[in-house]
């Protein structure tokens, strides 16, 4: 049977949606970034923000707050949010699981474990080693987090081919609890100073990255983005499953390795420098798909990067509003937004049909 009426042409409509969505998200990112730059515990008029951005050498206190505190923080939020968003798209496509991301599947727990073991190791080696760790926080904790994330990623990839989506999710959560249990035991032996190093890292934030760490953070993330771009086309074919991917000429094993490597390159530096940041990678791909009306990876990557950056900057803005007495915590703000989205996904997403 053939229908006489031709189908709606997606070829014209889709790029328009994509472009419009990108533009809107881009504008929102700029707006959120400007808001974050101008408002905080100290309010800076928007005019001064713009003037300060144009004149990096200005020496007023507000100019220094802008340059030394807010710009690095907002910049880190943009990079980290984009990286986590892209990583979420990769993981959801790789595992064909709508609630897959670095946090829900336990990659961040692996990072936590890596950092905890690093700290505990230093604590056993003695106070001097711990002091060394504080000074070299960038390098040693980064290595610990990156190794932890990578090991967890390989484990999840291995498991992901053997169990269903929901099982994998529960396994990921259990992995998180296990890691936190081990962390708690390890920290008991790491003592007060070690515990401080760990809990300082463990409270996710975009504010701790210092300029000297930027090249490493941005460099690795950019490598991850490039690799993600290279994986985009073959990953499309994986959306239909392994056999179809193979029939469409994809080297599935190589693709899995590459996509996972890209995910690690994106998640590990962010986790190492910012601590565990939850929910962004989980919900951003859904936003991107809703905007683009497609699951094709290519158009999703920039959209997810923009949406991730937006969510990260907006959450960071809320955290740094001048709250009375207490500070909010980044992951608490993200959870307030993210958890209801995840519940809705689990309940209503057609993709979860038959997997529940």
């Amino acid at each position: 049977m053939t229908t006489l009426a031709l189908p709606r042409t997606p070829s014209r409509a889709r790029p328009a949606r994509w472009l419009l969505g990108s533009a809107a998200l881009g504008l929102a990112v700029v707006g959120a970034a400007l808001a974050s730059l101008s408002y905080g515990q100290v309010a800076i008029p928007l005019g001064e923000v713009v003037a300060g951005l144009l004149d990096p050498s200005a020496d007023s206190t507000t100019a220094r707050i802008l340059h030394d505190l807010r710009l690095p923080r907002v910049g880190t939020a943009l990079v980290a949010g984009a990286a986590l968003g892209i990583a979420g798209v990769l993981m959801q496509a790789l595992l064909r699981n709508p609630v897959a991301d670095a946090w829900s599947l336990g990659l961040l727990a692996g990072g936590q474990l890596g950092v905890a073991l690093t700290v505990a190791g230093a604590a056993f080696a003695g106070p001097a080693a711990l002091q060394f760790l504080e000074v070299f926080r960038g390098v040693s904790l980064t290595a610990g987090a990156a190794v932890g994330v990578a090991v967890a990623a390989v484990a999840v990839l291995w498991l992901g081919r053997r169990v269903g989506a929901v099982t994998l999710l529960v396994v990921g959560l259990m992995l998180t609890f296990t890691a936190q249990g081990v962390v708690s035991v390890v920290m008991h032996f790491a003592g007060r100073a070690g515990g401080r190093v760990f809990s300082g890292w463990n409270d996710g934030t975009f504010a701790s990255v210092v300029p000297a760490e930027w090249p490493l953070l941005v460099g690795v993330v950019v490598a991850g983005v490039v690799l993600a771009g290279a994986c985009a086309k073959p990953l499309n074919s994986l959306l239909l499953g392994e056999t179809y991917a193979k029939s469409l000429g994809t080297h599935v094993g190589r693709l899995r390795a590459l996509a996972m490597a890209a995910t690690i390159l994106l998640v590990a530096p962010v986790t190492a420098f910012c601590g565990p940041v939850t929910f962004i990678g989980l919900i951003v791909p859904h936003v991107a798909r809703a905007v683009a009306k497609t699951a094709r990876i290519g158009p999703l990557l920039p959209l997810a990067a923009l949406a991730g950056a937006l969510l990260a900057v907006a959450a960071d803005f809320v955290v740094h509003l001048p709250w009375d007495q207490h500070f909010l915590h980044l992951n608490a703000v993200l959870a307030l937004v993210g958890a209801p989205v995840v519940i809705a996904l689990l309940m209503f997403s057609p993709t979860m049909r038959g997997l529940r």
């Binding site: 049977m1 053939t2 229908t3 009426a5 031709l6 189908p7 709606r8 042409t9 997606p10 070829s11 889709r14 959801q92 496509a93 064909r96 699981n97 709508p98 290279a230 985009a232 086309k233 499309n236 074919s237 959306l239 239909l240 499953g241 056999t243 179809y244 193979k246 029939s247 469409l248 000429g249 994809t250 080297h251 791909p285 859904h286 798909r289 809703a290 009306k293 497609t294 699951a295 094709r296 290519g298 997403s349 057609p350 993709t351 049909r353 038959g354």
Partner: protein
Amino acid sequence: MTTPRSPLTLDGLTVGYGQTPVLAGLDARVEPGGFVCVLGRNGSGKSTLLRTVAGLQLALAGEVRLGDDAVGPMPPAERARRIAVVLTEQAHSPGLMADDVVGLGRQPFTGWRGRLSAEDHAHIREAFALAGAAPFAGRLFDDLSDGERQRVMIARAVAQRPGLMVLDEITAFLDLPGRVEVMALLRRHARETGTVVLLSSHDLDLSLKLADAVWLLSGGALRVGPPDALIADGDVGRAFDTADVTFSAERGQFELRGGPLSSPAPHQP
């Protein structure tokens, strides 16, 4: 763009898993535009044969040729441009649209970014229409019924413009009119484009009515021939008869031993 019309040849083909052959020494040939149904009981090796023909698993011996080219050693990218596959297994992925699925049929022909050209889009539109999947364009793949999804998957295979289309048990999720429509459209597509269509099915009656040729798998052997000849020779009966059921060559349908089935057969003459 059309794929050159190529005949499909099995040459002493042995298929199986590991070192265990399931079917050995198969020889067959399908001319371009041929619509072939692969029949056999469960466990007769249909899927293994089809996977091997499609190049998804290696032959234990012998070879499959499409035109002059052996499928086994063919580079994956080239194989993807020449052979399309549709399986029983249901695909699902978060946010996957019907358009994405059909678009994937063009992936082997796109550049590294996977960007679709106007020509690709034309092929996609055509494939949607041909497979009767046009109403599902713009819809979430996971929201479609099983039958609707199968049509979209066929549209994807059509969009691929292959020289050989391999379809394994794809009619399992369709109702009877749906099965007739799908098999008819595949046969028409084979005739019009010269694509070789190889389709396995449990739908004995329908396959025997529509196929140009039947590959009948029974007892580790392959019999090839026009449906009428295989029925007349009793090959079909030998392949499918059980203690209780027998295939009537005269009526072209199954009967209980000792009399025709009491319930209405799917295809009364």
